[in-house]
Subunit: 667 residues, 2 copies
């Protein structure tokens, strides 16, 4: 760790610490080429982005910027006080998607295009043909929106459609609820995405962000206003903008904001200052608490500050909080947030299935926090939680079509929900089936930016080699320190199967180390090396954690990780009251659920869902390709029984109104 950032990175990553155990590989280095995540990225890059922009226009949240210019904002502004932030998250998603598509287009003319007929990259043909056209289309959209935003920015850099004009409340007059700095934090993250994917762009987004950041430093800098924003986000935004632009002032300002939490500068409220993490200094807290999105955004920004300022005490505190939160305040899905009322963490072990809030945005924010810790110290536990959260929270939010979303992600649906009208804004979090848009619509663009940048969370590098943290069909091309070129393809049906085949695409003149994560659930994993030159295969057993092979790899060499993926019952911690006596079925990183639609045609069709029990004496059975997991379900009242398919939790509620439970009482 150093005391200030010394380099700017040109790789397309959302997080680029100046120091740390691992360097993240960017969208220019990692491409997802198939499987569940490629499907999701395709839907996200088309249907979801179209959907979001449509609703931003329809709800007038984009037009607010035009009204700022025309003078009609005081009477005509629409949307909640934080609606600007959704525009910025959408810009961030657009920026990552443009970066992703350019990498696809580049690959079409590069190494992967031909000559490797056995490569799964061959499946990308259509995408590659369309990628360049899509880039142009999305570029035009992004530029049009940036122009509208830039026109609304005030002379001194201030930018917010809700505050500061005659007839509006004054700037910074409601830091508790006004979300001005929060919105700017998202603007900064959008600018980071832009500068890291198109450093040559002349659209002005980065300049808008820089001017706003300068104003923030001026107003809230040393000797200035000493308050914080009620919704953390500006910290993580400023820190990364500082890294991306090589501007230490922004990192200094991020540090100031982090350090000011816990001083009680915000008003006390019904739920206490813990709601916005203004109750206790970040370095003194024992666990994440309060609003679960705010808590994770703050922790992510604080991790950036700890890393950049070599603040080991702060880092240790954050790591302690992560572990306690993971153990005691996180659902089996990776979801966080036990309270609907204040969208907040509960106390330790307070994890009700039926009132799980598990906000989608908390999942996104949790990944941000975990990823930063992982880059700092390389511990595979963080990637374990990232994987769990990606599969069971973030992927649960959007439907297969990418145009309806869960805001909250319950683990127990007691009554069949009514389908949401695809043409109507839903109240926050209260749709029982996925809804197209929300009054508070933070989640759709938050998933969009995450999926568009997902490749940047798969792999890292260090001096010795490359680490693979998440498994998807993908191609990795990067240069290690000293200019050593590394290129390999990952072939896998994961998480349907546990076989992960890493096939080298080029000869490496010097040895390097390939490291693979063995998830915590994967007891009995095996690692194999299958040399291309006919040498004997080698096999090693691999315990959970990181497992490595070092070699001067040759093109065609294969490293194979076999993870024991099989459905299994998992018991809850005995201290979690809400699911005592229940079991959950997991298969690899996926959590499964009992959904009432799967009872149709069985003797349990007419059973009261509350009477159903899982027969723990009958092991869960994998139902085969594409299907779920089958367990024995018994009606405790009638003794009727049937073998019932469980559905992957992220795929539930796609077949009409239903009831559902993740934790099922054991017989």
């Amino acid at each position: 760790m150093t005391t200030a950032p010394t380099t700017t990175t040109t790789h397309a990553v959302p997080v680029a610490p100046s120091t740390g155990a691992l360097r993240p590989l960017g969208l220019d280095e990692v491409r997802i080429t198939g499987g569940l995540w490629a499907d999701r990225q395709r839907v996200n890059g088309t249907a979801t982005l179209d959907h979001i922009e449509g609703w931003l226009e329809r709800e007038g949240w984009l037009a607010n910027y035009d009204l700022a210019v025309s003078g009609g904002l005081v009477d005509g502004r629409r949307g909640r006080e934080f609606s600007d932030s959704e525009v910025y998250k959408y810009l961030e998603a657009l920026s990552w998607e443009i970066g992703r598509l350019r990498a696809v287009a580049d690959a079409a003319g590069g190494h992967d295009a031909a000559g490797e007929p056995g490569s799964r990259a061959g499946r990308e043909g259509d995408d590659e043909a369309d990628a360049a056209a899509s880039v142009d289309r999305l570029e035009a959209r992004l530029r049009a929106i940036v122009a509208r935003i830039a026109a609304a920015q005030e002379a001194d850099g201030y930018l917010n459609t809700r505050f500061g004009r005659p007839g509006q409340e004054p700037r910074w007059s409601d830091l508790e609820w006004g979300h001005e700095l929060y919105c700017l934090g998202h603007l900064f993250q959008a600018a980071v995405a832009r500068v890291r994917t198109r450093p040559d762009a002349d659209d002005g987004l980065v300049e808008v962000a820089r001017r706003a950041a300068d104003l923030v430093c001026e107003v809230f800098g040393e000797g200035g206003d000493e308050r914080i924003c009620g919704h953390a986000e500006v910290e993580v935004g400023l820190a990364e903008l500082g890294r991306a632009l090589g501007e230490p002032r922004y990192l200094d300002q991020a540090r100031l904001f982090v350090d000011r939490h816990g001083r009680g500068t915000l008003a006390d409220i019904e739920w206490g200052r813990s709601y916005y993490q203004d109750d206790v200094a970040v370095r003194d807290a024992e666990a994440l608490r309060g609003h679960s999105v705010r808590a994770n955004y703050l922790a992510a920004g604080a991790t950036d500050v700890a890393v950049e300022f070599d603040d080991l005490e702060l880092f240790t505190a954050l790591d302690r909080q992560w572990h306690r939160t993971r153990e005691r305040r996180t659902y089996v899905t990776g979801g966080q947030g036990s309270h609907h009322q204040d969208e907040a963490f509960g106390e330790d072990w307070e994890l009700p299935s039926d009132r799980a809030y598990s906000e989608t945005c908390a999942g996104v924010a949790s990944v941000m926090f975990s990823w930063r810790l992982l880059l700092a110290n390389g511990d595979s536990h963080y990637a374990d939680l990232i994987e769990r959260t990606l599969f069971n929270v973030i992927e649960t939010s959007p439907d297969a079509d990418g145009t309806a979303f869960y805001y909250a992600n319950t683990l127990h649906q007691r009554v069949p929900g009514a389908p949401a009208d695809p043409d109507v804004v839903s109240p926050r979090a209260h749709s029982s089936l996925r809804a197209p848009w929300f009054d508070v619509s933070c989640c759709p663009p938050n998933t969009a930016r995450t999926f568009a940048s997902l490749a940047a969370y798969l792999a890292t590098a260090d001096a010795s080699g490359v680490q693979l943290h998440q498994y998807a069909p993908s191609i990795v091309r990067t240069a290690l320190e000293g200019g050593r070129e590394v290129a390999f393809e990952v072939g896998t049906e994961y998480p349907r199967s546990g076989s992960i085949v890493v096939r080298m695409l080029e000869d490496s003149p010097e040895p390097w180390q390939l490291s693979l994560r063995v998830p915590s659930w994967a007891v009995g994993a095996q690692l194999s090396l299958r040399p291309a030159d006919g040498e004997l295969e080698q096999h090693w057993s691999a315990a959970p954690g990181m497992v490595s092979v070092e070699r001067a790899f040759a093109a065609g060499d294969e490293v194979v990780l076999d993870l024991p993926i099989a459905p299994t019952f998992v018991s809850p911690d005995s201290r979690v009251d809400a699911v005592r006596g229940c079991l959950v079925v997991e298969r690899g990183p996926e959590v499964f659920a009992l959904e009432s639609v799967d009872l149709a045609g069985t003797p349990l069709e007419a059973s009261d869902f509350a009477d159903l029990r899982v027969d723990a004496s009958a092991e869960p059975v994998d139902a085969g390709s594409g299907a779920g997991v089958v367990v024995r379900i018994v009606d405790a009242r009638t003794d009727a029984a049937a073998d019932v398919s469980l559905v992957a939790y992220h795929a539930w509620a796609e077949r009409g109104p239903s009831t559902m439970r993740v934790w099922v009482p054991a017989l």
Copy 2:
């Protein structure tokens, strides 16, 4: 049932149906003379009433009426939009307390004063001496407040400090959240209390209520505004005012309001129209739902309407809802409301201990609903729930001193709460220990009016005799139909002991029937008759329900009910997920709790509360007079074990910060 009320009652009761199975006995007929409820009434009538009036003045909620006269209301008004209602509930409490004290004073000069040295009434000496002075003091207070209110009433009868003046929002412009009709409903209940305890009073309260009620009928009557109030209460207030004043128009208006629920005249909101019971017609609903206080107030008013208009369909619907709500949406304490967010019922079986809202006011409202059903059809199940709610919700709210209150009544406190500052207003419901006053302070005056009128919920009469529903040391004097005088004293240590001795104070020339409730938990109860004349004692076994003895009782005859009161483990319904695998200890009507302060000095003192289990193989043991119940508690992590006293739930949190749980996981 008849189509309109034909008589006004002169008895001091909060509810006087014109027809029904049972006639309630009033404060002029029943006096509580000792035991837990007498202690509570004494504290309530002194410390609690003083406390409430002090805070009403301090917070400016009383001064709002003065500002209405002086013209300073627009700028100077203080308190939430419904603060007027707290003043009216306080007036209602004052009225009942005056009625109660007058009965005590009357008794001092009447039958009970002397000549019965063995009578527990002898203990009342001090009270009786003070009662007349206290009446004068409270009368003066009441009159002073009524004068301030009357001065603020507008010429056409409108009365609300928040709406309708120049600079304020117009009258009836926010029926969803404005609470204007809700406030008036409480005004009407206060007037009912006044006219039934001092029909001769000339203070003007009844006239103020009558003028306001006339305006409501004019504005919202047939052909007028067809909306309802977002917070039910005006229905039950209008119905009783109609009964008390013999004014059928008010009953007609109550019926209109009840029938208008479910038509969607109120705006749809985040939580749905079920929040204010505007989703489904009252007669079509299957269970209470939405905001639990609103739901019960509405159900109480709807029961009045069903009774007065002989609407059997409506009555049957309400009875169905009561049973389903009791079975599936009510905590073991009698508490109702599973959601903090919307203070609402959850779905069937959604009863989390740690997020139990169980609002004190919902308990009060539930008693109101149950009592009306009981008067209509005489079923003892209603009195069972009333008893459970009185002991474990309403009595739990105030502390022993009567000056700090629980708003919500959790069944599981995970972290020790910080003591509330006795000088500071607490945010709604979020004090972890009892607090003196709340921003939304509905609960303190709601308990006060309930305790002051509690004697009116103990007994009823019908053509054949008297029914005792709740047991406390008390004296009952009433006249049955045909003028037959009945007088008896109830001697009991209930609920510490299960022996209830009813001793006749006068000879009855004609036979009449004394009926006693055998609670649903009291399997193995026995009833005995001990004639004063030396006849042989008779004994009967008594199943849960009502048990009766008919006789031309002589002075000194005793009827003794022996209820098998002993601590016992109770298992939850298997469909309640939140407490699966747990047990609760009940003793008679009281629910017990494991409180961390009782671990001091045991081998479990340092245990993590989340690891504690109750050893179900060791029966709970009664610890003897005044003490709690002892169970065997084991630390599941360390195997340390100890015999630990459980505390009566209503008495928890009186010994400083603690953790607590009502349902304890079984070993």
